[in-house]
Subunit: 209 residues, 2 copies
DNA sequence: TGAAAAATCACCCGCGCGGGTGATTTTTTT
DNA sequence: AAAAAAATCACCCGCGCGGGTGATTTTTCA
C-alpha cells in the first residue's frame, strides 16, 4: 500500500491555484487536501490539515508567503514548506531559507520539476534549483541591507533626494549619505539609478504598490 | 442548439496554461481547441484552427504576445484576441490595443471576469477593465517614448552615465542630454533614479534580462 | 556583560547632472 | 510636396551627488 502525500496549497491567484492543483492531483500518490488564497488562511488551514508538504506562493496581497512560512514554522518546526516564486533572483529567497523553507520552485517550471520538488521535500530532502543557488551565492554573501538601509533604498526608489530622505527619517543629511554609501557598496553600484535597477531586479522593492 | 466558443490559448507557463484551460473547459459553451507555449506556435495554431477567440499572454520568452498579435491580425484582420497580462500598468497595453487587441485581462482575475471577457469579445464587444483604462489615460496621452528615447532609457536603467550613452550610440553628449530632458518630461520625473522606477512600474523595461 | 553590528554625524572635494534656451537636419507621415 | 515628428547639436549655470576619511553612540546579540 502506497502512502499518499497530502499537500496544502497557498496561492492567491486563482489561475495558478487551479493549474497547480490539477497537476498535483493528476499524480497517483499526491493530493491537494486544502487550498488557501491568502497567507492568513494558509496558516489556519495548516493547523486543521497538518499536511505533509505545503506549497506556498512567495508574493501575495496581504500576508506574504515569507511571513506565513515563519509563523507556521514557529508553531510546527517540522513543517515541510516549498516556496513558489515568479523570479529566480528574488531577495526574499535568503530570508525564507533562513526561516526553514525546504524548497524553492520558480513558477515557470515544467510539470516534472514541481512533482520532483514535492517528492524530494516529502522525503526529507531540500530542493533548491541550481540557478537559484547560484544567484543566492552571488547576491547574498553578507550583503543583506539593514532595516535603515532598506528604508532609504525605498525612498530613493520613490524619487527622494538626500534632503528629502533626511527630513522624512528625522536624521541628518550626512547620515543619509553615510547609509547610501553602504547601500551602494552592498549592491555593487555607484549611483542612484543603478541602485534602483538592482533593487527591482533582486526584488528588494516591488513593482506593484 | 448552442454555439460553442472555440478558443486558442497562447501562454508559455504550464501552470497558467492548465489553470486557464481548466476554467474555460468547465464552461458549457466554451472549449480550448488548441494550446501554444510560444508566440510562434500560437501563430501556426491560429492558422490551423481559426479560433473564435484567442487568449494571448503578453510576456513570453521568445516572441512576445504583442508581436504575435500583430502578425495574426495582419493575416486575419477579424481575429478576436484577448491579451493576458500580470500587471495593470504595462506599457505594452497601448501598443496591443493599437494593433487590434479586443480585450485585456489581468492574470489575478477571478473566474467570472475571464469568462465574461471571452463572452463579450466573442459577441464583438471590447473588454477593457476600468483599472486598465484609467492607467491608460494617465500614462499614455501622447507620452509614448520614441525609439531613441527608449534606447537611452534602457541604458540609464543599465547604469550608464551620459558619456557612456553618447559613446554607445555614436552621438554627442549634448544630444543625449536633450533626449533625457524629453524622457524626463514624458515620464514626469526630474532625475535618473525616478526615471528607472517609472520605467519598471510601467513595464517600459523588464526585470528579467 | 562584552563584542559585534547598526546608526548617527562631520568635513572636504570635484564633477556630472538637470534646467533653461535655441537651432538645424533628418525622417516619417499625410 | 508639405507638414509633423524625431534626432541632432551647442552653451551656460549651479548645486546635488558620490567618494574619501574618521569618529561616536546606540542597539543587538551571543
Amino acid at each position: 500500500m502506497k502512502t499518499i502525500i497530502r499537500i496544502l496549497l497557498v496561492e492567491d491567484h486563482l489561475i495558478a491555484r487551479i493549474g497547480i492543483t490539477t497537476i498535483i492531483n493528476a499524480q497517483p500518490d499526491m493530493v491537494v487536501v486544502a487550498e488557501a488564497a491568502s497567507g492568513m488562511q494558509g496558516i489556519e488551514l495548516f493547523r486543521h490539515h497538518q499536511p505533509d508538504v505545503t506549497l506556498m506562493d512567495l508574493r501575495m496581497g496581504a500576508t506574504s508567503g515569507a511571513d506565513a512560512l515563519q509563523l507556521i514554522r514557529r508553531e510546527f518546526p517540522n513543517a515541510r514548506i516549498i516556496i513558489l516564486s515568479s523570479h529566480s533572483g528574488d531577495a526574499e529567497i535568503a530570508r525564507v531559507l533562513r526561516f526553514g523553507a525546504c524548497g524553492y520552485v520558480i513558477k515557470d517550471v515544467l510539470e516534472d520539476e514541481l512533482i520532483d520538488a514535492v517528492r524530494r521535500v516529502h522525503q526529507g530532502k531540500k530542493y533548491i534549483p541550481a540557478k537559484v543557488a547560484q544567484i543566492l551565492s552571488e547576491y547574498f554573501g553578507d550583503e543583506i541591507l539593514t532595516p535603515s538601509e532598506q528604508k532609504i533604498l525605498e525612498l530613493i526608489v520613490a524619487g527622494a533626494n538626500n534632503k528629502n530622505i533626511a527630513n522624512k527619517l528625522f536624521i541628518s543629511e550626512n547620515t543619509v549619505k553615510s547609509h547610501i554609501k553602504n547601500i551602494f557598496g552592498k549592491l555593487g553600484v555607484n549611483e542612484r539609478a543603478q541602485a534602483v535597477t538592482v533593487a527591482f531586479k533582486r526584488g528588494l522593492v516591488s513593482v506593484d504598490e
